[in-house]
Amino acid sequence: MSALIIEMKEDTPAIHLDAAAGKFEFSGKSLPEDVSSFYASTFGWIKDYAAAPNPTSVFVFKMTYFNTASSKIILDILMRLEEMKNEGKDVSVEWHFGEDDEDMKEAGEEYSEIVEVPFKFVEY
């Protein structure tokens, strides 16, 4: 399947979803005007990927900021990963946060409490 690559902008994150390369990453800021339309292609991609995923998938989040509307979309993405996990797939999350970024760390911890997907926390 083809990769989904979206370049980073001032108000939207870089998205890199590439099954062949085994890279699944979201990075940057997320405060789009319309979260649903911005993330529509991501959900489409994940749906296709979930049908025939790699033996192991590590989804990496290196977000520096997201607004509350995006926070729900991220949870929605994580819930899709949880569904894959429930279907017996090897799926996990790597949650990156800046050295002093307590908020981002806590946001990741909160997500890890909500969804049944293994989280690994990485401070940078």
Binding site: E10, D11, L31, P32, E33, D34, V35, S36, Y65, N67, T68, A69, S71, K72, I73, L75, D76, M79, D100, E102, D103, E110, E113, I114
Partner: protein
């Protein structure tokens, strides 16, 4: 002198006088940004970038800068987003009738930054909004965290961003309750003012 000045102003002295007063008012309240009009995504990007630059210039603490940024985005997008939302279906009831034009002001004193937004709201929506703000204001950090989790889970799939989550986030991030006021406009609607305070002392999270 006064006469000459007035002549030079081509009869616009009253307006010029107003601008002078306006300037003094802005200085006295340390207003670094004041805007009245339509709030769009472009405005949100421009204002947040400008404010970040201003805070960099005065070498404001990174954590405080982040709080200001968080609150600004939620405030501005609250105004921008709920505007063209005339579909009553999936949206949060409270958002119906909120207008997308409004005011946005950032001021400060020695201790705190004040971020204030104001926009129109239908009177019938006031009680529910007021109840929501009061209930959020009454919670401590742990309870806010739980409510945040619950709200996020409940609304993750459908709507485009209920006001509730934004308010919860603002109170969590600032550690201060939201101040609000409803100024009656006419029998049908009011002007909803919302003020968030961010401490300049970087003690709490």
């Amino acid at each position: 002198m006064q006469e000459i000045a007035n002549q030079g102003l081509n009869g616009k002295s009253e307006y010029m006088q107003f601008v002078v007063q306006f300037h003094h008012m802005m200085l006295s309240k340390k207003i670094t940004l004041a805007y009245e009009g339509e709030v769009t995504q472009e405005i949100t990007k421009a204002f947040t970038a400008m404010t970040e630059k201003n805070l960099d210039k005065i070498e404001e603490d990174g954590k405080i800068k982040k709080k200001v940024y968080h609150v600004m985005v939620e405030c501005l997008q609250n105004i921008a987003k709920h505007a063209d939302d005339d579909s009553s279906g999936s949206s949060d009831k409270l958002e119906d009738g909120l207008s997308k034009t409004g005011i946005f002001v950032i001021g400060s004193d020695d201790k705190e930054y004040f971020i204030t937004s104001g926009n129109g709201i239908l009177n019938e929506n006031i009680p529910a909004l007021k109840a929501m703000l009061d209930s959020i204001n009454a919670l401590d950090q742990d309870a806010l965290k739980e409510l945040h989790k619950t709200k996020m889970r409940e609304t993750a799939i459908s709507s485009k961003g209920g006001a509730g989550l934004g308010f919860i986030d603002m109170v969590r991030k600032t550690g201060n309750p939201l101040e609000y006021h409803f100024e009656p406009i006419d029998g049908k609607s009011s002007f909803f003012l919302l003020k968030s305070r961010i401490s300049k002392a970087n003690s709490e999270k």
